[in-house]
């Protein structure tokens, strides 16, 4: 876990470094990156074909910059009228590019500049993968050392008692036969104590863990790799789990959301995906499964007709995913509270999901784990002078005064009632 954290820090640091280096000439490019990620990146990559074509080098292919403006504003009209556009459509059909009539010319310019200047960040990423040794090893070492020391102590005690017996014998003091250590009451008592402590520890921990499912990684109806989607292809989490910012549920995307991209992406061409059992996954076959659920015919590139009049293509049915993160019924958890108000990253609770081929439960989702975070996390407290922070917190007069008086340096979730029972149980 800690290794991931260090990796992220390194990547961030190097990105920051790159950014500073290039910032003197790339005010537009910086905007362009944000615009690109917000609008284009779900279907386009700068340097590789995706749902749509690679954008880098557009100027060598497209007829003119004006053509690009028109195309972005209304692609379907262009397909109907323009020859070059017809060609594009033929290559990528049936997907038609989404129209972005609201993008201004300057913004389009910024995006184009960004894709032109784009260099893959592979080199920096690679350099950071070395990593350090896990800290977990130390405790092992201590354990072994303790064991060895305990053994030595025992041997020494035994030697000591033997020597005393010898010296006693020499001096003529009669002490009787020495009791072997396994019948020595001190040893037995000590042994029982140690066993009760260790046994009790494991029993109680086991009992606490009943009903918890950390590392739960069920087999899903489709081998869906978050690593490929969120990692390699950098699809924003909210593209599929959009309701995470509106609702208590993060939401599992409906099949039509998958088909937005997979109408065009028929096969998997990336690095081989090795499954948990060591076999290499036939990822293209998994995409075929999706088509079956969606009622899509990849040959004709069309949905099946709706002959049985149920409003959906014949054969289409929802996917029955296995739910991984299960909270007890008496717990109220709201994603939007954490994402939108708390400004948390998905990874805080779900781990580095962009590196998980199939998702497993990263956190133990125990109450102690929730409470811990609520104790440590700081809310986006309102600063009356600068006007920064969430204005909702302006009503906490007492804390504002305490901050002013330097009695308090920040306000944690706990301070505003984040560890009270009815925050989550009602």
């Amino acid at each position: 876990m800690s290794r991931y954290r260090i990796n992220i820090t390194k990547v961030l640091l190097s990105l920051l470094f790159l950014f500073i280096l290039s910032s003197n000439n790339s005010v537009f490019a910086a905007d362009g990156e944000a615009l690109f990620k917000a609008n284009c990146s779900n279907c386009h990559k700068p340097d590789a074909d995706y749902t749509g074509p690679a954008l880098k080098g557009w100027s060598t292919r497209e007829p003119s910059k004006d053509w690009v403006y028109k195309w972005i504003a209304n692609p379907s009209q262009m397909i109907a009228t323009d020859e070059y556009a017809k060609g594009l459509f033929a290559k990528y059909k049936p997907t038609v590019m989404t129209a972005f009539p609201n993008l201004k010319k300057e913004e389009i310019d910024a995006i184009l500049k960004y894709v032109d200047d784009y260099t893959p960040p592979a080199a920096t990423a690679a350099s950071s993968t070395g990593g350090t040794e896990s800290e977990g090893d130390n405790s092992m070492l201590y354990g072994i050392l303790t064991l060895i020391l305990a053994l030595i102590a025992m041997i020494l005690l035994q030697v000591n008692s033997n020597l005393r017996k010898l010296s006693d014998d020499k001096e003529g003091v009669h002490r009787g036969e020495p009791v072997p250590f396994y019948r020595n009451k001190t040893y037995i008592m000590a042994g029982i104590l140690v066993m009760a402590t260790v046994g009790g520890y494991y029993v109680i921990n086991g009992a606490i863990g009943l009903g918890r499912q950390q590392k739960y990684q069920p087999v899903q109806p489709i081998y869906y790799s978050h690593k490929v989607h969120a990692g390699t292809n950098q699809i924003s989490c909210l593209y599929c789990h959009g309701s995470a910012q509106d609702s208590k549920h993060a939401g599992i995307p409906s099949v039509n959301v998958c088909m937005n991209c997979h109408m065009a992406i028929k096969e998997y061409k990336g690095d081989p995906i090795v499954k948990e059992d060591g076999k290499v996954l036939d990822a293209t076959a998994e995409i075929q499964k999706l088509y079956s659920y969606a009622g899509w015919n990849p040959e004709t590139k069309q949905y099946n007709p709706d002959n049985n009049n149920d409003g959906v293509p014949d054969g289409a049915r929802p996917i029955s995913w296995v739910k991984i993160h299960n909270l007890p019924d008496h717990v109220y958890f709201n994603h939007s509270q954490h994402i939108k108000v708390g400004k948390q990253q998905c990874q805080t609770c779900h781990g580095n999901i962009q590196e998980m081929p199939e998702v497993y439960q990263f956190s133990n989702l125990s109450m102690g784990w929730c409470i811990n975070c609520h104790r440590e996390s700081k809310v986006d407290f309102y600063n009356k002078e600068s006007g920064e922070g969430n204005k909702f917190y302006s009503i906490y007069e007492k804390f504002h005064q305490d901050i002013k008086d330097h009695k308090l340096d920040s306000v944690t979730v706990e301070k505003i009632g984040g560890t009270e029972c009815q925050k989550c149980h009602y």
Binding site: G251, K323, E420, K423
Partner: protein
């Protein structure tokens, strides 16, 4: 001390031993139910060692298996194509209209993941202004009623068989209708005030010459319609403006509970019942009645008389006001004095006075019309420019139909939304005669008493599944839109009529909207042009009136279209007055008279299978699940020989056990046997019986499946005691009552939460309040000060040894105005719906196991024979220094930094220490697995029939459980629960405010009880916010008090003391008077 002045029952009044013992023992059960296990009891009984070991082994093994089973694999199934406006986990709200017979209440339906789960009032409606009643709140449960019919049916011998397609049904019906020859088709419905439906009905009737539409109301206002026809030439009911009335005299009209349009009237009435220090004014309300009604219990002055004397009282009032009638002699001096006072008050506020009358006697209503002329009500408090369309049934038409049906001269009978076999006095005969009609079709949604007599059944949608409109007042249209796809194979009643009418285009009936701009010519909308179903007809109909798509969409979104019409008078014609008074003078009376009334819970009995309504305690009698014969203590003495006022032994025997003696009421050879409930405030010659109970299928063994698990066995049907006087149905009669030897248990909640002689209510009269506002709360204030050590003055921080905890951000608080709380109980049902409160059934209510988080305590005070009534909503007070929190051994209940007393179910181990230590008795314990949520499957079954009633199983059906609020935990056996201030709503509002970075947004939060309240008696908000409603209300130091404040529990619920506009001495004034006299 005020403690002796407020009493809930006779035992409390007399402080009898049995009462004190029962009040002391809040949990009446033994600690362990060992007596049930072995007859010897715990100490004498032998438990063999082997048995002990067996039980021990079994429980260990069971616990191990239950705990260590593998976690179940759960699936998450997303949509195939997600609808755009549905986000799982986020509720949507749709405006619609609750319809029950002619009643129409504009509502907003909360829909969560496609399921309607809660009804709220629509604040855009200027009729109800966001108010609702108990029935509207409960109607969401009817959507998931297990007795709803699931497909069209056709009679097959004694049973029914399914008709598989609508087309097959249509062809069957059209063939049958073609074969009736020249006999007429009769469409029998409840009052129809939907303009679009009316047009469809007109087209349908046009196709069958000689056919007619009979509107029939279970509880009729026909007498009023006829009286208005005689006096004003309009067979209609005007709209009333209680908000313009400074003096209101009601002659047995329960206008706050069940009369005509109670939600609207409550809203209007409450505007003049709010007293503020800036505007210390109150309307004056007189009530003359025979029984103790909800409205009567809110009156400033109340007088009782025999039911047959209603006409006399009206005439005396008219005479006193100077009307041209001879004043009848009134023997009762008090009543006479009351009439004089009422007349004087009416005259003193001439032009702002109103007299309403609940009698269905044409002659009485004529006299009342004459009175309203004299006091200048016509055109001011009575508005003839807008008619009230909620009741249109003319009783003679129904009687004629019954006769025709019996004579076999009806070709086809189509029944929609009414149940005459149950509600008509001669219902049984009517039911038998239905078979004499060639064709009989029922559109009712359940297999009720009438439907089971019909040949064809095509169930209509529930209102939550329907398109529709209603015009409860002319010019005020309220729209319905479906909030869920039809659950079953049902079809709108209107669609069926359209299908059976072939292309009969006719001029569209014009809704009384502003028609000058909307349409210069009456649009002709034919059924065929508009599409072949009601949905498209509805759309084209309203598009024609409202104009294009945008305004249509807005109308549907708002749920209403309204037009302001200035009040106007109608020309009064007094020609009928003379005959009316002559007839009234000749009316006969008897020694014992019966009055039939409706309860706020069940109303006319249409929703009888709704367990929420059945378990709702009647605000006056506090009885659940039954109707009964209500009598006064004096009458009880002569009738059943129980002298409850003077013979303590008899009183205790009567009051402490649920078993009540049964009497037989006989009227013209018809009898009904009912348990006796003794209640003060009734006229001594009157027996009052509620309608709406005693639903039963013709074949008793079908009752559970057909009328339902909750309706079956609940009370007796009193409709057969309705009589027809030649013009209208009469709900009062001369009867004989005799005692029987049997008893019957009543589940009464009245003594379940006793304050044990601690004062909880403060009350005074308006005149004393104006004289000295401080005197009202002098007693609690001085007591509070006296509790403080010398030199200290802050009661909150210095009156206790406990530390004071700050509430840094929000501090939630509630304020309840005892002046405007009418006791209507809409809040109780709203709370039940919002918080998944379980239904426990009659057997458990008898044991004081009801689970309501919010109860309305009813206190009597003053004259024992005609007491004043005070209602006090009582729920968890969220004490900042809560006694319950200190005694919980597992900290399952504790305090939040926002002032909430938090209850954590999963921590609770069920010691009930908290409930024992709660001075307000608001904590409820789950004695049994009421919700079926325990981990062991089917563990309710062994208790079926003995401990758990069928209604509990009705609530636990998979269909019914769809009504549960997914944001609130369903509690299991063995935990305490109580009001949470709707914490799920508070958290949601805080989240919204944080998302929008606007702290003022939490001002929008409303608890379920507050939202439901038709009189705005409940306010809720952040006390730390000086701009919030509740902070403003608490500034009124002369009326703001906290219950049991002297205990230093620091409640977060405050009450505003009650003020009555009366000359009598009430509340504190009364006590003072008594102390000075000795």
């Amino acid at each position: 001390m005020s403690n002796k002045k407020y009493w809930q029952n006779f035992g409390e009044l007399k402080q009898s031993d049995a009462y004190l013992q029962s009040a002391e023992n809040e949990f009446k059960e033994d600690l362990l139910p060992v007596e049930e296990l072995s007859k010897e009891g715990l100490f004498e009984g032998k438990t063999p060692r082997r048995d002990f070991l067996k039980y021990l082994g079994f429980s260990t093994a069971a616990a191990t298996i239950a705990a260590s089973c593998e976690m179940p694999v759960r699936n998450a199934i997303p949509y195939l194509q997600k609808p755009e406006n549905v986000t799982p986990g986020v509720a949507n709200y749709y405006a619609s209209t609750y319809i029950n017979g002619g009643d129409a209440i504009s509502v907003v339906v909360k829909q969560r993941d496609g399921r309607p789960i809660k009804i709220e009032g629509n604040e855009l409606s200027s009729i109800t202004k966001g108010g609702t009643n108990a029935q509207a709140q409960a109607s969401v449960l009817d959507l998931y009623d297990t007795t709803r019919l699931r497909h069209p049916l056709q009679k097959d011998g004694n049973d029914f068989k399914e008709v598989t397609t609508f087309d097959a049904f249509d062809s069957m019906v059209t063939t049958a209708l073609a074969g009736i020859g020249t006999k007429p088709v009769v469409l029998l419905t409840s009052t129809i005030n939907s303009p679009s439906t009316q047009q469809i009905i007109n087209s349908f009737l046009a196709k069958y010459p000689g056919s007619r539409h009979v509107q029939y109301d279970a509880v009729s206002y026909g007498g009023m319609l006829l009286a208005n026809e005689a006096c004003y030439g309009k067979k209609a009911i005007p709209s009333y403006h209680f908000n313009n009335a400074k003096t209101i005299v009601s002659l047995s009209a329960d206008f706050l509970g069940t009369w005509l349009s109670p939600v609207e009237f409550s809203k209007q009435y409450s505007t003049n019942r709010k007293v503020t220090s800036e505007k210390p004014e109150l309307s004056r309300h007189f009530q003359f009645e025979s029984m103790l009604s909800l409205t009567g219990s809110n009156a400033d002055d109340r007088y009782t008389h025999k039911p047959s004397e209603t006409g006399k009282v009206a005439m005396a009032l008219l005479a006193k006001l100077g009307g041209a009638v001879a004043a009848p002699s009134i023997a009762d001096a008090k009543l006479k004095e009351g009439i004089d006072k009422a007349a004087a008050a009416l005259m003193s506020t001439k032009g702002a006075s109103l007299v309403v009358c609940g009698s269905n006697d044409l002659n009485v209503q004529v006299v009342v019309n004459a009175i309203n002329e004299l006091i200048g009500a016509n055109g001011t408090t009575i508005n003839w420019a807008i008619t009230n369309n909620t009741r249109k049934g003319v009783d003679a038409e129904m009687v004629q139909l019954a006769a025709d049906l019996n004579a076999g001269s009806i070709g086809a009978l189509l029944i929609y939304n009414c149940n005459p076999v149950y509600t008509y006095a001669e219902g049984k005969k009517f039911g038998e005669a239905i078979s004499k009609a060639g064709v009989s079709i029922s559109f009712n949604g359940t297999m009720d008493e009438t439907t089971e007599q019909c040949k064809y059944v095509i169930p209509s949608h529930h209102w939550l599944e329907s398109w529709g409109d209603a015009e409860p007042k002319s010019g005020y249209v309220s729209f319905m839109q479906p909030t869920i796809n039809p659950l079953f194979k049902t079809r709108a009643f209107q669609t069926s009529l359209i299908k059976w009418t072939s292309n009969a285009g006719s001029a569209a009936a014009m809704p009384s909207l502003d028609s000058t701009v909307k349409a210069n010519s009456t649009p002709v909308i034919s059924a065929s042009a508009a599409g072949n179903d009601y949905e498209s007809f509805f759309k084209s109909y309203w598009t024609a009136f409202l104009g294009g798509g945008e305004s249509y969409n807005k109308a549907i979104q708002d749920g209403i279209v309204e037009k302001e019409i200035a009040p106007a008078a109608a020309v009064f014609n007094n020609s009928s007055l003379l005959t009316a008074t002559q007839k009234l003078a000749a009316s006969k009376s008897g020694e014992t008279e019966l009055v039939l009334y409706q309860k706020v819970s069940l109303g006319n009995g249409n929703q009888a299978n709704n367990p929420w309504l059945q378990e709702l305690p009647d605000p006056i009698s506090k009885v659940t699940w039954d109707n009964y014969a209500m009598v006064s203590p004096e009458m009880a003495k002569s009738l059943i020989g129980i002298d409850i006022m003077h013979n303590q032994r008899e009183a205790d025997a009567y009051e402490v056990t649920p078993e009540k003696p049964v009497v037989k009421i006989t009227m013209n050879g018809k009898t009904i046997e009912l348990p006796v409930l003794i209640l003060p405030g009734l006229n001594n010659n009157t027996v009052a019986v509620a309608l709406g109970y005693g639903r039963a299928s013709a074949d008793e063994k079908n009752s559970l499946d057909r009328v339902g698990k909750s309706a079956t066995g609940a009370g007796k049907n009193a409709y057969p005691l309705v009589s027809f006087d030649g013009a209208s149905f009469s709900y009062a009669a001369v009867v004989t009552v005799e005692k029987t030897n049997s008893t019957y248990p009543l589940a009464q909640t009245q003594v379940h939460g006793s304050s044990e002689a601690r004062p909880v209510i403060y009350e005074t009269s308006l005149s004393s309040y104006l004289k000295n506002p401080e005197a009202l709360l002098e007693e609690p204030n001085s007591e509070r000060i006296s509790l403080l050590a010398e030199g200290k003055n802050d009661f909150v921080t210095e009156g206790t040894i406990y530390p004071n905890f700050e509430k840094p951000g929000i501090k939630w608080g509630m304020s309840i105005d005892l002046n405007t709380c009418t006791g209507c109980s809409a809040c109780v049902v709203a709370c039940t719906a919002e918080n998944n409160v379980s239904v426990v059934g009659k057997t458990q209510v008898q044991k004081a196991h009801e689970m309501h988080w919010l109860r309305i305590d009813r206190y009597f005070t003053g004259d024992v024979k005609n007491p004043d009534v005070v209602f006090q909503p009582m729920m968890c007070q969220h004490c900042d220094n809560a006694p319950c929190e200190n005694v919980c051994p597992v900290a399952a209940t504790n305090h939040s930094s926002e002032g909430l007393n938090q209850m954590t179910y999963n921590r609770c181990i069920g010691t009930r220490y908290c409930a024992n230590n709660c001075p307000f008795k608001v904590r409820r314990f789950n004695w049994l697995d009421f919700t079926g949520s325990d981990s062991f499957k089917d563990n309710q079954e062994p208790l079926r029939g003995t401990q758990l009633d069928e209604a509990v199983f009705q609530m636990n059906d998979d269909l019914t459980r769809m009504v549960l609020n997914p944001d609130v935990t369903v509690r299991s056996r063995g935990v305490i629960e109580k009001c949470s201030f709707c914490v799920q709503r508070l958290q949601e509002s805080k989240l919204e405010a944080k998302k929008h970075q606007d702290p003022s947004m939490v001002r929008n939060v409303k608890t379920a009880c507050m939202q439901a309240c038709p009189t705005n008696a409940i306010s809720f908000g952040n006390v730390n916010d000086k701009e919030s409603e509740v902070s403003k209300l608490r500034k009124d130091k002369t009326r703001n008090f906290y219950v049991l404040e002297q205990l230093h529990v620091l409640p977060n619920v405050s009450y505003l003391a009650k003020i009555r506009n009366t000359d009598r001495h009430v509340g504190i004034a009364e006590e003072k008077e008594e102390t000075t006299h000795g």
